[in-house]
Amino acid sequence: MKEKISKYINGEGNKEEIKKLLKKDKEAREYYEQLIEMKAVLSDMKVNASEGTEENVLKKIHKKRFHVPYRAISFAAILLVLFLFLKVPGLKYDYQLESPETDNNVRTTTPIEGELPYESAPEKGFSGESILSYPGFEITVEENKEADVIALLVQYGKLEDGGENIFTYTLNSETLPVVLEKLEKSYKISNINMPEEDGTITLTIKIISP
């Protein structure tokens, strides 16, 4: 009965049958009247969206479109700065020369085999436990000369990440002094990473064009 009445108020069903039912059955009539009243109030409950909807939406769409070039330009500028800093040898060299003697964490060696610019460096900073108190290291290697370094690190370290020209290895307190001792005779080494909580240290190799 209720379902029929519900459909009837939407113009469905057998009208004559429902009319008879409503005349005869008081409960049905009461139900019908309740639904009609409820529906009348519901149909008056329409609300309006904010008047600024058009403006907000159009502003958002066009704002996004205008932002794209600015983002691209900013991104290009960051890339340019990074490129200049990493790829121009003079810039990097000047930067590293600023504090080689006052800062124990920065150690620079020239790529001349068998010669160390700072004689005391290996004894001072890179043996035993003191190694762990130093941040990680970045080794800059000339292109076509990286095979020796990689072979050394494959032997002693664990490869964490490999890119086109950058490789990151993890060394522990035992392997790090050995590797550093071998490497610093021939390559430029500078700090970049902090030691991990477990005492391991990451060593990043950057391969640059000669």
């Binding site: 209720k2 519900s6 409820m38 409950m45 609300v47 939406v57 159009l58 769409i61």
Partner: protein, 186 residues
């Protein structure tokens, strides 16, 4: 402007067509979302997001349904995603305090409109699916066929959902003395 022309112009990113579509459908969308979500801020956000998505993805509109149906479905999916997101859950927690909602309903339905407030309260106690059916048919005034297209269900399903929804809502408002005056007359 017929719908085909609107779609063509939207595809060309015509700002006047975009404005026309927003003006034409914003209240329909807002009503649909507002009565299901029962929060004005959520409804307004959903409406704006829906139009943005519509304009961005207009090239994916294949014309198998009407633009209003497409907008409605984007709107309801946006609402669903919004309510499922963490942020919306927090906002829903705020809603449980009812403060903003009650203020809003008073503002929307005018002060002292007791019956509308009772229905508003009753609507909180029926399911979202039932609210959706009531909103489309009883509030927006759509027929069964139109509602079935929007809901992507059969006409029979719309009828049964609507019957259940009305029955639940009637019981809820009965508890709140919605029909009190009429009963006392008898």
């Amino acid at each position: 402007m017929d719908e085909e022309e609107i779609i063509e112009r939207l595809k060309k990113n015509d700002v006047y067509a975009q404005e026309y579509v927003i003006r034409e459908y914003k209240n329909f969308l807002f009503n649909s979302v507002f009565h299901v979500a029962q929060r004005s801020e959520v409804a307004q956000d959903v409406v704006e997001d829906t139009f943005i998505k519509c304009f961005k993805k207009i090239n994916q509109f294949d014309g198998r349904s009407s633009l209003s149906t497409w907008l409605y479905r984007i709107g309801m999916n946006t609402l669903k995603n919004m309510l499922e997101s963490e942020g919306a859950r927090n906002r829903l927690r705020d809603r449980l305090k009812w403060k903003k909602t009650v203020n809003y309903s008073e503002e929307q339905f005018k002060e002292n409109d007791k019956k509308k407030k009772i229905i508003w309260e009753g609507m909180k106690h029926i399911t979202a699916i039932e609210r959706e059916a009531v909103t489309l048919v009883d509030i927006q005034g759509l027929n069964y066929e139109e509602a079935s297209e929007l809901l992507a269900v059969s006409v029979g399903t719309v009828k049964s959902r609507l019957f259940r929804a009305r029955e639940h809502l009637r019981k809820e408002i009965l508890k709140r003395n919605f029909f009190e005056r009429e009963l006392s007359k008898e």
